[in-house]
């Protein structure tokens, strides 16, 4: 079975399992909140993964996620919220407009060869501010009055609100991650990696850098916008302050770095960890600490685990497994918590802490017990690409 077939079947399995979770939740009489919890994670996975397609793969650091997300939100807010378009019709428009925006930016920025990566980063930062200003200026978009999405109906066949949101976010999330994987496992992906490592050389070897960067930026913007469009309903009351703040860019950066920017799974893992963590910290009433912890994570992880937690998980998969299973079982058996999420969060924290042990130290501790600490990242990556 080829790696791709294996991964795609993996997608199918998880996709189906997740699709039926709401039914499962009903059946098991689990808290409805689990559904909302998951759909929020889906949102962040999609945002982080789409961001990583540009920044993780091509190395061009973008603060523009908020802009693409915002275009998506406002497309739906204006079309569905103000002009009564059917929601389902408005969402794709959000994605497409974001795509157009992304390509427009790329067309200008990537044309100028001497433009350094940090200049690109700041241009993307500026874009969000400009869009915010535009939205404020144009009463057709916002004009400062905000837009209520609470009146916007969702198609019957999607079920009641939460289930509908769950299904839509799930689909967009799966599409985004699938796109990330397919790009990762393709010439496009490897072309982007080459660009990330040395754009000039990549050109010399026949890689059409400009076109590839455009594609990466376009895909990023499209999925960010698509999910933004869906999210407009979740926001309920769309305002410029809410949509164009640094929250989305901040979190996607954090999540991708934590999970690892060189592998398509990195942002997925990162999103799950960060969101679960901040949700539980928050519900534990540790709100001030929450921010401080997030910030410290950003610093520590950038310095400590350069390749990202996901790579550590792969290399030390057995350890990861044991500690996750172990901690969760212990908590379940001794009834330390009745909340599945809390159990998961605690297990996660323990695991990540273990994974933070540097490789050198780790190998000394491990003495070749599990099969982990395997060959370097790149080899693993290529191995997939190859078989």
């Amino acid at each position: 079975m080829t790696s791709r077939a294996r991964v795609l079947s993996g997608f199918a399995v998880f996709g189906l399992a997740l699709f039926f979770f709401p039914a499962f939740q009903e059946a098991m009489e689990l808290p409805r909140f689990y559904v909302i919890f998951l759909l929020s994670i889906f949102f962040w996975i999609a945002q982080a993964s789409s961001w990583n397609i540009l920044t993780g793969f091509s190395g061009y650091f973008s603060f523009g996620q908020g802009a693409w997300f915002g275009i998506g939100v406002y497309s739906v807010a204006v079309l569905a919220g103000k002009h009564g378009w059917p929601f389902i019709a408005a969402v794709p428009v959000g994605g497409l407009l974001a795509l157009v925006g992304g390509l427009a930016l790329g067309l200008v920025v990537f044309r100028l060869r001497m433009l350094g990566g940090e200049i690109f980063a700041l241009t993307t930062l500026a874009i969000a501010f400009v869009l915010a200003a535009l939205a404020r200026l144009t009463s057709a978009i916002d004009g400062g009055t905000g837009t209520f999405m609470t009146g916007t109906p969702i198609p019957e066949f999607l079920g009641e609100f939460n289930t509908a949101m769950y299904r839509m976010t799930l689909v967009v999330m799966l599409l985004t991650v699938l796109a990330a994987y397919l790009i990762y496992d393709s010439r496009l992906g490897w072309g982007l990696f080459a660009i990330r490592d040395d754009e000039a050389v990549a050109g010399g070897l026949g890689i059409p850098a400009f076109r590839y960067k455009m594609v990466a930026l376009g895909v990023n913007a499209f999925f960010a916008g698509l999910m933004g469009g869906v999210w407009a309903l979740q926001i309920g009351f769309v305002t410029v302050e809410e949509v164009f703040n640094i929250r989305v860019p901040l979190f996607v950066i954090l999540m991708s770095i934590l999970g690892g920017m060189r592998h398509w799974m990195g942002p997925v893992v990162g999103a799950i960890i960060i969101f679960t963590l901040s949700d539980r910290l928050n519900s534990a009433g540790l709100t001030d600490v929450n921010q401080i912890i997030i910030g410290s994570l950003l610093v520590i992880l950038t310095l400590a685990v350069k390749e990202g937690i996901y790579m550590r998980m792969r290399d030390r998969w057995l350890t990861t497994l044991i500690s996750m299973v172990g901690v969760m079982t212990i908590m379940a058996v001794f009834g330390l918590t009745t909340s599945l999420i809390t159990g998961f969060a605690v297990a996660m924290v323990v695991t990540v802490t273990i994974l933070l042990v540097p490789d050198r130290l780790w190998d000394r501790v491990r003495r070749g017990s599990d099969g982990g600490g395997g060959p370097p990242v790149e080899d693993g990556a290529m191995a997939e690409a190859g078989r």
């Binding site: 490897w190 080459a194 050109g203 070897l205 850098a209 080899d379 290529m382 190859g386």
Partner: protein, 243 residues
């Protein structure tokens, strides 16, 4: 007609004229040696031919096609590949991946799967098979230079531009490299070698072109060219300055 026809190519950097109306032609299947003192424009010429710099004037015709306006990746596609004096591997990839990537793109497009298999061929050819899967950071300079070659070859070029492959190598490594270049040539690749190590160039090239201050000052078979007065002064002058 010749494989590459360079007609009065000019390149300026601000005030400095790096290439001043250079005319060079490279015949199919030859090894052309390009020599000249520091700053004579050798590397600039390579950068122009490989599309890293856009020329300010002149015309480059490759295989009967005008490629003057082409960008680097288009030149790679028509069959021009180059190496770098200071190796520039993709350092988050293994040698195997380095080679595979350039095979995927380069002259003709190939899938990941094909690339991985094909990579082996060039790795064997350049004797890098042993180190194919270690991080490039663990390679020696000599190995990195060969990786440059393997990567360039993987693009299946008609014309290979070698920018001082020998610089910084010890005598025995130099001999290996010279041997390698001969073997590459034997495969029917036309080669342009830019070199400082005169001994090696003389041994390799069937024809020699000497650049000085951005202009061709002499051209012909190695012996006669190296005895050319202008060339000697250019070099001695150069020595004089640098000493």
């Amino acid at each position: 007609m010749s494989l590459l026809e360079v007609t009065s190519v000019t390149k300026r950097f601000g005030g400095i004229v790096a290439l001043d109306g250079v005319d060079i032609s490279i015949e199919e299947g030859e090894i052309l040696g390009l020599v000249g003192p520091n700053g004579s424009g050798k590397s600039t010429l390579i950068n122009v031919l490989s599309g890293f710099y856009a020329a300010d004037g002149g015309e480059v015709v490759f295989d009967g096609e005008d490629v003057s306006e082409m960008q680097a990746h288009q030149l790679a596609a028509v069959g021009i590949a180059r190496t770098f004096q200071i190796p520039r591997p993709f350092d988050t990839m293994t040698p195997r991946e380095n080679v595979a990537v350039s095979y995927m793109f380069g002259h003709s497009r190939h899938s990941l799967v094909e690339a991985r298999l094909a990579a082996q061929e060039w790795l064997d050819f350049t004797g890098l098979a042993r180190v194919a899967d270690v991080p490039v950071s663990e390679l020696t300079l000599h190995q990195l230079k060969f990786l440059e070659l393997a990567r360039a070859l993987a693009t299946q070029p008609k014309l290979l531009l070698l920018d001082e492959v020998l610089a910084g190598l010890n005598p025995s490594e130099i001999d290996e490299s010279v041997e390698m270049i001969r073997r590459i040539h034997a495969q029917g690749v036309t080669i342009l070698v830019v070199e400082h190590v005169i001994r090696a160039v003389m041994a390799l090239s069937s024809r020699l072109v000497v650049l000085n201050q951005g202009a061709v000052i002499s051209e012909g078979d190695p012996e006669t060219v190296m005895s050319d007065a202008a060339v000697v002064t250019a070099y001695l002058g150069d020595r004089g300055r640098s000493a």
